[in-house]
């Protein structure tokens, strides 16, 4: 999973959001590191929707324009947790934490700040899973 994808999914942990809100939330969660460009966001949403990780939750008209909100699906939440656990495991190699500590860090509510997991190891393009 690439870093922007991770933060798009993480931004939906607290509930459905629309496009701009996802951009803002991803930026907050990553301490400003992930600033999604508009086209990148929709490319990611298309892919994540096709993979069943994200679904369209609602549609409303705001200022004459369609605004759609997207939510995390169960498989999406599971993939996010698995990725967080993988990063925690990778971080443990460096920080030397115990497995118990790692599993606490990997809880969905805690993955919003992976900066605390030392340096996360992001998979490259070829190895990405989502």
């Amino acid at each position: 999973m690439r870093e922007p994808t991770y933060y798009v999914l993480a931004s939906l942990l607290d509930g459905p959001l629309h496009g701009y809100a996802i951009i803002k939330r991803s930026e907050e969660l990553s301490s400003g590191r992930v600033r999604l460009a508009t086209g990148t966001l929709y490319t990611a949403l298309d892919r994540l929707t096709a993979e069943g990780y994200v679904r369209l939750v609602s549609e409303e008209i705001v200022s004459g324009r369609v605004r759609r909100s997207y939510g995390l699906t169960d498989p999406g939440a599971a993939a996010l947790r698995a990725e967080a656990a993988r990063m925690a495991e990778a971080a443990r190699i460096v920080t030397g934490g115990t497995p118990a500590r790692v599993s606490r860090r990997a809880r969905p509510g805690r993955v919003t700040s992976p900066a605390s997991l030392a340096r996360p190891v992001w998979r490259g393009r070829k190895a990405r899973t989502a």
Partner: protein
Amino acid sequence: MSSLESRARRLLRVYPRSYRDDRGEEIVGTLLEASAPGRDWPAPRDAWSLIAGGLRARAAQNRQLPLAASLRLALLLAASLWLAASPLDAMWASQSGTPLPGLVYAAFALLLVATSTAPWFADRRVTIPLALITAVALGLNAYYRGYGPQFGWAAALFVVPPLVLAAVVAAEPVRPPRCWLWIPGSAIVASALFFIQYLVAYSARASSIIGIAATVIEYGIVCATLLWLTVDARPAIALVILGEWLVAPGLAFSATDGARLTGSYYAALVAPLAIGGLAIVRLRRKAAL
């Protein structure tokens, strides 16, 4: 509509129409929200992301057909291109004995243009008979006026492409995409210019200008098709098939004559195969959005 919005909408045109109809308003809305107040132009990273996203969406759309159907359409485009680019030139150059009246060439040219563009416009009940008539006309011309009995088999080279066109149209219910039409269209223009070049051969200057223009168009088609690989691999595959069709006669003649084949012939045979392989790999790759 603000200038930012109109520029964002212009950028959205990179996306396929169906995608734009579905998501265009939403994307514009998000871009406007994400842009700093007072901005007239989308931020460069937003602009680039929309262009890249649009190209990806187009590429994904072009990979929707099964591989076999995509290859059939590529074969159809190759046959159409061959008809648009090759035979009139060959007819003129290979004439033996008395030249045919100008009216016959005009009729031939009309037949070739109609057959090469028919898959886009006409029903298969029109396209298939047109292709068969073209096959017969080209075959007879090549046999009696071009190569003679010694190389009579070469007539088959002229018969195969129109027959392929007819066979694909008969087998494939999907029409070739409209956005491909510029390829045979440009080839027809180049072909017409080369033909005019023969007619004005007495004027060296006019002849060379026309010849250069036609050559530029032909190389332009090749370059544009290679660039187009980013969103659609099928035109490149069509060019490869065309390339092999054009190289094959030379190889066959050399083999018949017992002449040694030069390295450039082998290169001409192998290089397109490499490009074709790359194109097929791209075509098979799942849409990686």
